[in-house]
């Protein structure tokens, strides 16, 4: 939970510094995946925390996005029980997949269909995955929840 809260705080700070939200890595998502990977049984609470963090900025589609967070969180808990999410390669793969699902889901919800937006979405998925590598190395020294 501490990791998720710290990642959310870092996400807010980075968003305030960058002019375009597409180039901001979704650090909250990385912390969310990490939190569920370490404690799969608390997927509900982690997903709710991540959804609450997003709720601060939502002006539409509130319920679908919250439901989406819970659904993704449940799937992550199933994966965490089958695979070891603390393994670096598995973790990065799961972050990339979750980020892709979340970002493309947002595009579908908002009915944004253009090549430039798709390119920006892919850029965001890429920077999120790269940030997962950095955060994974940083958290190695943090105590478990």
């Amino acid at each position: 939970m501490i990791i998720l809260a710290a990642c959310w705080f870092a996400h807010v700070v980075i968003s305030a510094l960058m002019s375009s939200p597409w180039w901001v890595p979704n650090v909250t998502l990385v912390g969310w995946v990490m939190a569920i990977g370490r404690a799969p049984n608390s997927w509900g609470l982690c997903s709710l925390m991540a959804a609450m963090a997003a709720l601060l900025w939502l002006i539409r589609w509130t319920h679908p996005i919250v439901i989406g967070y819970l659904a993704l969180g449940w799937m992550l808990s199933l994966l965490a029980r089958r695979w070891d999410l603390t393994d670096e390669r598995v973790f990065i793969l799961i972050v990339a997949a979750t980020s892709t699902a979340a970002t493309l889901g947002l595009l579908w919800l908002e009915e944004l269909r253009s090549w430039p937006v798709l390119g920006l979405a892919l850029a965001q998925i890429l920077v999120t995955t790269m940030s997962a590598v950095v955060i994974r190395r940083l958290v190695r020294w943090a105590p478990r929840d």
Partner: protein, 255 residues
């Protein structure tokens, strides 16, 4: 052989005349004569100053600290002046409209919903659909308001819709956000008079946005002959990515 007194007198007069009438020679000779006195005086001063060195060092450190403090205060005053000038620029941009200045304290972490978080809310007079501008143009409108904060939907948000018209040719259309830092100006006639560089202003239709506020500049014109319509891509006039302070018009109401 000793020189005669007359010869010595003549030599002395010649040297005196040279010193009196030759400026460089006089300066050089005076410098040479004064140097020993200067050296002696400096040495005496140095000896007298030795006991005062510790006190001088402390005073120097104290003056350096005071100077640094003044530098910090000066930087803060400069920031205050910039803030006041920005506020003046915002108020001038809004004309005679009643409003208040708000600070941007956060940006959306959701890339498909372009919003800013302001430090003013309903207790300051903000309401839904209050128009927000900066010194350059329209920023957006308030979409959610609490007691002390408000969420502003930017003009680049996919749900943003503003009636606009070209400043030069008065062609009217609709400005819609594209979710990627740009807007589109749509519902134009195929042969509408518009070109790159044209400024798009608010048309004042719908009641939310007052007429005449800059929205953006045309960067690309697209004409679809099959559909019989034209459209344009706009670059927003406001500094959406660098907004720190904005002006909120208090005359906005729900649409």
């Amino acid at each position: 052989m000793q020189a005669s007194p007359r010869r010595s007198l003549i030599y002395a007069l010649l040297v005196s005349a040279a010193l009196a009438f030759s400026e460089p020679l006089r300066r050089t000779s005076l410098f040479i004569l004064r140097t020993p006195f200067l050296v002696t005086k400096t040495a005496v001063q140095a000896v007298l100053l030795l006991p005062q060195l510790p006190h001088l060092a402390r005073e120097n450190a104290s003056l350096k600290t005071a100077l640094m403090q003044r530098d910090v205060e000066l930087a803060q005053h400069r920031e205050t002046i910039r803030h006041l000038q920005q506020g003046k620029a915002l108020q001038e941009a809004a004309g005679t409209a009643r409003g208040l200045i708000a600070r941007v304290i956060g940006r959306s972490t959701i890339p498909t919903q372009h919003v800013l978080l302001l430090d003013k809310g309903s207790r300051d007079g903000l309401s839904l659909d209050s128009v927000v501008v900066d010194a350059e143009g329209v920023v957006g409108r308030v979409r959610a308001v609490q007691a002390g904060t408000a969420l502003v939907m930017l003009v680049t948000d996919p749900e943003s819709r503003i009636a606009g018209l070209i400043e030069r040719s008065r062609e009217a259309g609709l400005v819609v956000g594209q979710g990627r830092g740009r807007c589109d100006f749509i519902y134009l006639d195929l042969h509408a008079d518009l070109q790159e560089g044209d400024r798009v202003m608010t048309a004042g239709l719908g009641g939310a946005f007052p007429k005449g506020l800059p929205i953006g500049k045309v960067v690309r014109v697209l004409r679809d002959e099959q559909a019989g319509v034209a459209s344009a891509q706009l670059e927003p006039a406001a500094h959406l990515g660098r907004a720190e302070e904005v002006f909120c018009l208090l005359s906005g109401g729900s649409s």
